[in-house]
């Protein structure tokens, strides 16, 4: 059968950058299937999409879409494809319907056909009851659905979706997937790009990209099968799981590991038998059982394994023993914007040396809560105390005890790496020899030396991540606030990041984190699920999973738990209304 897209001997270079964005790429994207274009940020996913859409020309090689060359016959290609870029060009000031009308006009959709098409797409995307809402007021998931509707106006043969699930909560993500699966059954070819490796498992075919090169092409199961027998779960009721992971990652033969609720999950090198508990530093009570392999395991294996378990950052930090046991107290925290209640009477407390995760769908109010805790937003009612102080009114001395790392890279992009380190160390009261020594240590720990004079904004994403963490912890904070710290970052950097965080927590640092990544949530000691401004569930990851266990789902994932809890809350709400 003819492939929908045929990529031959492709190379793409951008002027001014030494390494090619894509190199030696040959691939076939089969018709009528969902193909996942998977890889971390900067792997070349968007470049490949734009090349297929005919928006860029290859430096070498060629691409054919259903037999049409993207360079020679761009018009034919444009007629066949629908393209939804990463940030779809929705006009935020226009309503849902006005956006649809505008795109129908731009695409030259016949007037007579519009009404029926709009109705079909609005029903398909579940946006029918929001037609008059401003696009800017939609949640992240709904924006993506509207973007998808606009891309589907002409029923394309090939649909290119560039990271449709970024910033979308698990619930909306599932809905997007079922929409795409419906399109597939209607015969559409779909190319779905993503940095979430777990999404690869839902695709029929996968193209795995890393640094512009194709690591794997084929069905995701084939890649996972290679990892069969190499993944184990270790549950040790007597050991601290973070310490256990740290030790296990240093054991030869263990190539990767993550915290998984109460247990740790390890990936073993090829041909390595499951180790004895004592070799991992676990107690005799430890239970080791095999686990099903995941796509991410295979990816890490291809890249030669994850980082070790030792954190030089944590080693350089003094242990925190001072202060009270309860570090953060949130009491009846409420925030109203006009008539809208973004946070509604939320209370919880966080102990010293705990990782506390805030989860919730887009627009549920977790960012509002987070910002109130950091003192960036004044609560309407209630209070948040960090180390006994309200950060919004407390002086600089109190703020010097917290570290903060924002969602987007929010260091000074036009300053060099060294200048960023110097500024933040100065702003956090470091001076003299201590300051110089700390900066030196950060450069060594995060391997920043080769990039010191580079503009921070031009750093590769992984290094930005490291620099941001360095700037947030240089002053040895007691509490660390992380707002979606690793979104878009490749799995290796994410592992390294959590190794540092785990190390810091063992030293007594308290961590508050918001996240959309379920594997990040697994690292947390406790999770709070925020929905419609309220705290609807709180507990350890395992406890939340347990609460969602049912007959047809005996072993739910955290994502299943997340969705089940939100559905239950919706059902509750409906009952209350009825």
């Amino acid at each position: 059968m003819q492939p929908a897209v045929l990529v031959e001997d492709l190379e793409k270079r951008f002027p001014g950058s030494a390494a090619p964005a894509l190199a030696d790429l040959a691939a076939r994207i089969p018709a009528g299937r969902i193909t996942g274009l998977v890889g971390p940020d900067g792997a070349g996913k968007t470049t490949l999409m734009r090349l297929i859409a005919g928006l860029l020309h290859p430096s070498r090689g060629r691409i054919r879409v259903l037999g049409h060359d993207t360079v020679a016959e761009p018009d034919a290609v444009h007629a066949l494809i629908g393209y939804m870029p990463q940030r779809f060009g929705l006009y935020e000031e226009l309503s849902v319907l006005e956006n649809l009308r505008l795109y129908a006009e731009l695409r030259g959709l016949a007037r007579g056909a519009r009404k029926a098409t709009f109705e079909r797409l609005l029903a398909f995307t579940g946006l029918a009851s929001f037609t008059s809402r401003r696009a800017g007021a939609l949640s992240g998931g709904m924006k993506q659905k509207l973007g998808l509707a606009c891309a589907l106006l002409e029923t394309p043969n090939v649909l290119l979706l560039d990271e449709p699930s970024v910033g979308v909560d698990p619930l909306s993500r599932r809905e997007l997937w079922s929409m795409v699966e419906e399109l597939r059954s209607a015969g559409t070819t779909i190319l779905w790009s993503t940095a979430y490796l777990d999404e690869a498992e839902r695709c029929d075919e996968v193209l795995l990209l890393n640094e512009g090169r194709l690591l794997f092409a084929g069905p995701p199961g084939a890649l996972k099968d290679m990892m069969r027998g190499r993944t184990i779960m270790v549950r040790d009721p007597r050991a601290n799981r973070r310490a256990l992971l740290r030790r296990a990652l240093e054991v030869p033969g263990v190539i990767d590991g993550v915290v998984q609720g109460r247990a740790i999950r390890l990936v073993l090198g090829k041909g390595v038998p499951p180790p004895e508990p004592h070799l991992l530093g676990a107690s005799a009570a430890a239970e080791i059982r095999p686990d099903t392999p995941r796509f991410e395991d295979a990816f890490i294996d291809r890249l030669g394994g994850g980082p070790g378990g030792h954190s030089p950052l944590a080693a350089a930090m003094p242990a925190i023993t001072h202060g009270s046991e309860t570090v953060v107290t949130v009491e009846g925290l409420t925030k109203r914007f006009g008539t809208f209640t973004a946070a509604d009477g939320v209370s919880f407390s966080i102990r010293r040396g705990e990782i506390f995760g805030l989860l919730g769908p887009n627009g549920a109010g977790k960012s509002t809560l987070f910002r109130m805790m950091c003192g960036l937003l004044t609560p309407t009612a209630g209070r948040a105390r960090v180390a006994g102080l309200d950060l919004a009114t407390a002086g600089g001395r109190a703020r010097a005890r917290i570290g903060y790392m924002a969602q987007k890279f929010s260091l000074y992009g036009s300053l060099s790496v060294r200048q960023n380190l110097e500024f933040f160390s100065g702003a956090y009261n470091l001076r003299g020899r201590h300051r110089r020594r700390t900066i030196r240590a950060m450069i060594d720990i995060f391997h920043l030396a080769p990039h010191l004079d580079m503009e921070a904004g031009l750093l590769p994403l992984g290094f930005k991540q490291r620099l941001a963490l360095a700037c947030a912890v240089m002053h040895q904070p007691d509490v660390l606030f992380l707002d979606e710290p690793t979104s878009g970052v490749d799995p290796l950097t994410r592992r390294e990041f959590w190794t540092h965080i785990n190390g810091l927590v063992e030293k007594g640092v308290t961590v508050v984190v918001t996240t959309h990544f379920m594997d990040e949530a697994e690292y947390c000691d406790r999770l709070a699920l925020i929905y419609r401004g309220r705290l609807i569930a709180e507990g350890t990851p395992d406890a939340l999973k347990l609460a969602a266990r049912s007959e047809d789902r005996p072993d739910p994932t955290l994502e299943d738990a997340f969705i089940a809890l939100i559905r239950a809350e919706d059902a509750n709400g409906e009952r209350a209304v009825a």
């Binding site: 960036l376 937003l377 010097a400 987007k408």
Partner: protein, 368 residues
């Protein structure tokens, strides 16, 4: 505290000066604008055309026409032959003014009777036409003085004008000291107006607010570099004014610098105030237009403040540019002493204090 402020000041300087393009923006456009504005913003009338309708043709009429043609302000004399042609020359803006010399002109002049000429002016260009009329009147009165002298008639009372402070009424002496103030304000304002808004947009402002830096420290950290850059910009303009435009600096340079310092502080305050209101850079730029264009129009740079309605004159007190232009012209042209400066200095100090205070309060208040 000072260590933190120092870190912030260094960071602010780097943020503005590290980038080659933004360094260029600080020097290139102001220089360009100074040159352009100094040449363009002039009320001297030069290179205009005059139409002459000579129905007389006598020697006196010809002499008058030659005198007009010889005036340096008029580049071109168009001789027209009928009222219709004259009307058309004005209509098509071929000429800004027309001189209509009547049939009896030479006869009246020879007979020693009062002779009249008609001058028709293009009222659409009222300002320039007024000035042209003045030139023509001068030519006419010179001519009649000469006629009187030829006949040995003693001349009546004569005015002799002496222009103090600017003896030759060179227009750039008037505009350039004002431009020095305007361009300093432009740069000082834009550097600060964008700074907080940019940080808010990029998320780095949150980063500052959660750090030990207090709003006061952030304020000082933002103020110092902008003030230094503003004063450097002002100095650059001063040097250009003295060297390139040869404007005499009659007053005390130190006094001028003191006033410049107070002025830049008030501009920085205004910029930070606008910036702390804005959530994005786009809003800050729009805010800049809202402040800058009225500030220039109501500054007395082009039109005297005294010509404005009295309520508007009161309003211009809140415009630092108005005060600085008074001081700049004063120190440049008439050796303004400190006491004479005071009425212009204290309003700028008040503007600076109020806006800086408001900006500092708004840093946090914008968090709701």
């Amino acid at each position: 505290m000072w260590h933190r402020i120092r870190a912030l000041v260094i960071k602010e300087f780097l943020a503005v000066l590290r980038d080659k393009r933004s360094r260029l923006v600080l020097v290139g456009p102001p220089l360009f604008q100074l040159l352009i504005f100094a040449l363009a913003a002039t009320l001297d009338v030069k290179n205009v055309a005059i139409a002459i309708l000579d129905k007389d043709g006598g020697p006196a009429a010809i002499e008058l026409a030659l005198r007009v043609a010889g005036a340096p302000a008029f580049s071109h004399i168009e001789m027209v032959h009928s009222e219709a042609e004259l009307g058309e020359a004005i209509d098509r803006q071929d000429a800004i003014a027309a001189i209509h010399i009547d049939r009896q002109f030479s006869r009246d002049v020879l007979a020693g009777r009062p002779a009249t000429v008609q001058v028709i002016l293009d009222g659409r260009r009222s300002n320039a036409a007024q000035i042209v009329l003045g030139y023509i009147q001068t030519i006419l009165s010179d001519y009649s003085d000469d006629l009187a002298a030829r006949r040995g008639i003693p001349r009546p009372a004569v005015t002799i004008a002496r222009n103090w402070f600017n003896p030759n009424l060179i227009y750039s002496w008037f505009t350039v000291p004002g431009l020095v103030a305007i361009l300093t304000m432009l740069i000082g304002f834009m550097v600060t107006a964008l700074s907080v808004a940019r940080e808010r947009e990029l998320g780095t402002f949150d980063q500052l607010l959660v750090s030990p830096l207090s709003p006061f420290e952030i304020l000082v950290g933002k103020m110092v570099p902008a003030t230094v850059i503003g004063i450097a910009e002002g100095s650059f303009m001063l040097v250009m004014a003295i060297t390139v435009f040869a404007i005499p600096l009659t007053g005390d340079v130190l006094l001028l610098y003191f006033a410049l310092f107070v002025f830049v502080l008030s501009v920085v305050g205004l910029g930070l105030f606008v910036s702390s209101l804005a959530m994005t850079q786009q809003q800050a730029i729009l805010g800049g237009f809202v402040v800058l264009s009225p500030a220039v129009l109501l500054s007395g740079f082009a039109t005297p403040v005294e010509n404005m309605p009295s309520w508007l004159q009161t309003l211009t007190m809140a415009n630092p540019l108005r005060h600085m232009i008074v001081i700049s012209r004063g120190v440049f042209l008439k050796d303004m002493p400190f006491e004479a400066m005071l009425p212009s200095l204290w309003p700028m100090a008040v503007i600076g204090a109020v806006t800086l205070l408001a900006a500092g309060l708004l840093f946090r208040a914008r968090l709701e």
